[in-house]
Point group: C2
Chain length 121, copies 2
DNA sequence: TAGTTGATCAAGCGATTGGTTGAATAATGG
DNA sequence: CCATTATTCAACCAATCGCTTGATCAACTA
């Protein structure tokens, strides 16, 4: 997978989670697979709309589907979720390490009141 | 903050990261604050467009801004990023624990070939 | 076989997105 | 004061989003 494809995958995955209905579906699926009608039940929207939401999650790689007679059970893919936390944590940790270095620098250079303003910038 | 407001916050935050330009801005900001023009430099779009991207990140609570003469330096808010990983990890872990329980159940109940199909569903 | 259930396809609609150009607002420096 | 620099506001545009209704497909069951 090249960089552009990985980018596109992140686009779709974050976009997929940027909707309360789809996040609710993910939450439900964390407790086990469910069919489209089951997933649609808590919401005041049509099953067609829920079907589309599931397609969005599937295209993003967050869920997969199997077959059971007429039903198409939806399964969560936890590995895809992990990819997202990895992306976020990567930059979160870089940011926090920068802070720690800055604090250490200011603490060793001079008095403590400079360290207080370090949190500001 | 009530549940609806928290929901809306998550909507905006995930949506904000669902764009490669904005993710690139977040990556840049993890190494320290930057002005709008600095952030716009790597991209083939206008500074107005970048300004809008930053407003999206700001509304999502992912960045804050200060003032330095005409400049409006943008700062990353790592705590907001942590909120996102917390949401994702919550359901990821529920999902994985469910798998572990299922594996243990099948392993104790009968032979190993049932455990092999447990990964399927 | 006919009817029912589960899910998708298709077309359409209002709202929103990411981008543009052009004008306006702030704050600095000569 | 005037010109420059940094940023935002405003209006617009094509594309996409979430959702609807209506029709279709697929598989079971009486």
């Amino acid at each position: 997978m090249d960089a552009a494809a990985a980018d596109d995958r992140l686009d779709r995955a974050f976009m997929a989670l940027a909707d309360p209905v789809r996040r609710s579906i993910v939450a439900r699926l964390s407790r086990g697979p469910a069919t489209v009608t089951e997933l649609a039940e808590p919401f005041d929207i049509t099953t067609q709309a829920v079907s589309k939401h599931i397609q969005v999650l599937e295209t993003a790689g967050l869920v997969t589907r199997s077959r059971d007679a007429q039903r198409r059970p939806v399964h969560l893919d936890a590995a895809a979720l992990e990819t997202l936390t990895e992306w976020i944590d990567r930059y979160r940790l870089i940011h926090e390490q920068r802070f720690r270095r800055l604090d250490a620098l200011l603490a060793s250079a001079d008095g403590g009141d400079a360290a207080a303003s370090a949190e500001q910038d």
